[in-house]
Subunit: 384 residues, 4 copies
């Protein structure tokens, strides 16, 4: 049985909403049944009808969606609500949804502020409902394999981490372009929060680093820049990192690397080896050693561990991409919800999706990195 999915945000013209819907469909674990796709009622209606929803279940606002769905019979009403609005409209609908008995998917970053994220953690705990945060890149099978190899000690104690996310799409003043809605809200502090690039892609890089290494950042030193004239938020940053095990790292995220696309990349070096992964070659994981040939581990390789294989659909060499990585989050979340609904304990593979803890750390990253950027002190402790 498919889970009944509702969506808040993601109307016509939006980017990430369509991605969420594809991701939810790929493994057939969800059926979209309702939505409040825009704060503009006419647009919400048009979007919902274009998606084939019954008119009665296309709502004018998230309040209306949650209120009215709650009133529907249990076997009809929505079960999972995806929130794909700009950051300033994450917390309220998530809280309301959870308190109304729905499970929730939120696009990253989790909330508008760290304080909100912490409150959301309390709501999750109190309601007993589940929350999935869509940090896409940790959904890639070879990222999961990297994490597993590190956990198994393949490269020994981690000593150095390089993580980067270079983009070029904001290298000009795109927010001045009427048609670029993505640029408009992502550079607007009232919608995006205190950070631009750091919130939009820095959090992805940060999450990738902590997730794969299993370590936590304990201090950072940031150089945060607004490069394009007239822009209201940062569009570039580089951060020196210290991890709780003593390892050091560098995080680079920029949106002004003209001509760069989305090649998020991570390199991790331990006492006994190194791991390298990048989105441009997403189905390969390079494993390096001292004194032995490097290896190319590949999505679909029978030698991969359970996490990578659980998140792979096709034989090696048939590339799985961004949408499949995203789908892995939705699929695992659904498997977890279904197991719980049956009273079973979900497996580790099923529970393998980011949640509110990752959301809190991501929001703390934003607040700490912006604070560090303004500080004349070299090291800022990673406060939560």
């Amino acid at each position: 049985m498919r889970l009944r999915l509702g969506m808040i945000g993601g109307g016509q013209g939006a980017f990430i909403g369509a991605v969420h819907r594809i991701a939810a469909r790929i493994d057939d674990e969800y059926e979209l049944v309702c939505g409040a796709f825009s704060s503009d009622a006419a647009k919400s209606k048009a979007s919902g009808l274009a998606l084939g929803l019954a008119e009665s279940r296309v709502y004018n606002s998230y309040h209306e969606l949650i209120d009215q769905e709650k009133a529907l019979p249990e076997h009809i009403r929505v079960q999972v609500i995806s929130i794909v609005t700009p950051n300033h409209v994450h917390f309220e609908p998530a809280k309301l949804a959870l308190e109304s008995g729905f499970d929730v998917v939120i696009d990253k970053p989790a909330t508008f502020t760290l304080a909100e994220a912490k409150q959301l953690e309390e709501v999750v705990a109190r309601t007993g409902k589940s929350l999935c945060l869509t940090h896409t890149y940790t959904g890639y099978p070879m990222v999961k394999q990297a994490r597993q190899l590190i956990a198994e000690g393949k490269i020994g104690r981690v000593r150095k981490v390089y993580v980067e996310y270079p983009q070029g799409w904001l290298s000009a003043f795109e927010e001045g372009n009427q048609d670029n809605k993505q640029a408009a809200w992502r550079t607007d502090p009232s919608k995006s929060g205190i950070a631009g690039a750091m919130g939009d892609i820095g959090t992805h890089a940060f999450n990738l680093a902590e997730c794969v290494t299993g370590l936590s950042v304990s201090q950072l030193c940031a150089d945060i820049n607004t490069v394009v004239e007239g822009r209201k938020l940062d569009d570039d940053g580089a951060v020196l990192l210290k991890f709780d095990n003593g390892a050091s790292g560098v995080l680079m995220a920029t949106q002004i690397a003209t001509g760069a696309e989305n090649n998020v990349k991570i390199r991790i070096y331990g006492e006994a080896g190194g791991l390298e992964w990048q989105q441009d070659d997403a189905n390969s994981l390079i494993v390096r050693y001292a004194g032995k040939p490097s290896e190319i581990w590949r999505t679909g390789g029978a030698y991969n561990g359970s996490f990578a294989n659980y998140n792979t659909r096709t034989p090696a060499g048939h590339p799985e991409g961004y949408l499949e990585a995203f789908a892995n989050l939705y699929r695992n979340f659904a498997q977890t919800l279904k197991a719980k609904a049956k009273g079973d304990k979900p497996t580790a593979e099923q529970m393998d999706y980011p949640g509110i803890q990752e959301g809190i750390r991501g929001m703390a990253f934003i607040e700490n990195v912006i604070a560090s950027g303004k500080s004349e002190q070299k090291w800022t402790p990673f406060n939560i």
Copy 2:
């Protein structure tokens, strides 16, 4: 409104059926409503229920499926039937489905013999129904871009074509392995036809070469081998090609390239430039020139033509993969059917999927290449 989809074959344990279902779901153009998933009735039932179908619409055979669906009210009965069985069970169900008023998707190669493919062409013409043949690789945006650049004269008259599909998965006697159902039927002449590797992947390479260049093979000279002892069909071949414009080419397809995955690749050289594409870097198209730097055209680049862009879902650098390429076939086919249903002429972009003509040429390739493999004459004309 989603098209109602039925499936013949593709039960539990099959590979390509699941791929078809994902491909059909990605763009939300279809809803799976019925199936005859196996010639084993119990297995068909189990498969259908696992897919969430109503028990009444899981059938014991394709005859039953077609008969009973025909009897359902028009707004309920299946509209498109996907045939994902081994090759020997393509023609009969396709013919029956078309004659019963259904549109049809068939996995490649089209049929068991060339004669069947020609008959199917007649059935398609007579019934006025539509047929889509799933040659996946031409669904990739950058393959479409390559085709468009050639059509626009970017590289001048084509003079040389190299196309290759190296696999290693049959480098041992896998058909002796109980659990390898794919190996079993694909190496069995009673199910696969007269060709093994040439039918399974040689046809993909052949289709890619003809599709991208816009040329037709007119003569060929084949070296066809059965490398693994005990195997009943070819598992390796290399073919010299002559095209109708005087260009020459080489087609290589093998299943005994130990360690190779699925890196299908094409390189085309004309008087003014060259194009190179491969599945391992599916989102890049290399364009070469005399005396100028080579270029890297990328999926999602705003500079791409209408065909590439129509088949792209995400911004450049978020890799789209094999499943999205496959989905492009299903999506375009659906768009075409919907336009026709409305009485509109589908656009060129919508009609951009392989059909029975490609099926006939693929089957002719199989028959000609096997004949050439046995001939002591160098060149065999490409007979249809």
Copy 3:
């Protein structure tokens, strides 16, 4: 002590002569002492003086060079003569040099005809002098490593070989360009012989395939084309191969792949694994397996065998290129000559350079491949 080197051909404006001189210098095993750099005496003189030679040792012809050097005291006269003229001026000077007591380096292909190559073999045997044939690509460390891995059984019995050399520099009628001396003689049957592309680069591909696999071609089937209008020799060809152990292969060599540079590439698949090497990534050798991650073996890796390591100068990751590969031929030849001069048996690593046997096989390749290109018979036995 450096060996005293003389050069025939390679005057100002030539390409390969300068490459030979660099290759001879890199490891300091030779000192250029004399030359007949051109059949034009003034040009020979100018070239020799520019190279810093004593005027007395710059000669007007190769006859003069050999005659006069013979007359010099033993500790002064030339020891090794490099012949870097067009193909039609290989045999005579080589024969004369050998018969006059000099060791000889010849650029490939060995001679103008197969018959000449066989005579040269006889001369070598009769005189007891040594001959090195400069098939550059087998000088690369990772090519040597590939050969060693195969010899050690790493990939099991070889079953499939793909070798290719795509160039684009003759994709237009360059021989019509006054300034393109390379194009002029390489497309002129009176200087190049019966083959164009097949002699110039097909022989390199052929040598690479036989050298690395340790196998011999026993039959071939060639498609030989002259693509550019007005050209007098082939500029494109593809060849199906059969090897003496039953393996099959494909050789592709073209000079009309517009935009292609010099990415000679070989892929070899055996029962247990595969090897892939290409000049564009010359310091990597990809080793593939069934069911295990592929490996990247690198120039300078301590894990490499004795042949690769003997031919490496710098630590891994400092790329060695074409000139170093070429230098390896000169260096090993010098080491062999010096060991012989001392009465020692050269080591296997020292004797690791191509000689007259490779020259005969290369010339036989040319004659057989051109004959096959004209034949209507599919398979032509590899006659010597």
Copy 4:
């Protein structure tokens, strides 16, 4: 006429001395005539004789070399002296050589301290002799091309620079290994100076960044680490950079990236485009744009500017490597010296080698980066 070259350091067992000798030979601009190859007289003698030098010109110390060579007739005595000793023996021999009328090549970093480098600048100015500092990586043709494209405005004003040099060879305590002489002196403060990795490879990365961009670092913020227990100097560091035009950057240099070789890499993004180069693909320069396909500029491409082409020996696709990059420094230095000797003004291409200015900036980098590493202040001005 070849320049007469002498060498200080670089005896048997050393690494970089042999590289200098190959580099000096490749273009035949030098002839090695003398040396003081080791502070151990017997070893110096053995090394010199093995190199074929006359015994009379193999010296026991650099003092002896300079004293005795000065006394030789002008047409015999050494002209250029290469200093390839550990860092603590750079300044004294360089000063003495210059003051004795010889031109000098020094391996990087220039000296032991910044103060010494400044003194050396004064000596150069006073004596009118020339000095070449071997920052190898700026000798690569495609690095020169990157520099030229930036100078010509191809990517607009530079806004972001990423430069990195990840190595893994010191990921264990190699200085404890008797046979690893390189590790021993490079981690010894009495020979290497105040910096380990920062001096050895950080200076290369720094030089590359300043050279290619044409900018100067004005502030930095460094995280400097000694990762391997027992090591006396830094083996890892990451540095945030500010340039004089307002651009920012990140410099990463580490010797504990287990399995990494020597893939020094630079990425530079301007308002109108981006450039990417790395040693592992040294013959390619990726040029990126907003809204256009990226381009691959290649060593040997006729479209390259005068600096790249002046430093290229072979046609595109025949890879030139580390030794050729190194040779470009020696060749250009020789051309400059010869032009000066003739009273000509050397061309810009001839004068294209690093000198004492780069040496001073490199030493300032070392002192500033180590100071910053110890500071609690975020930004340290780049003091000279």
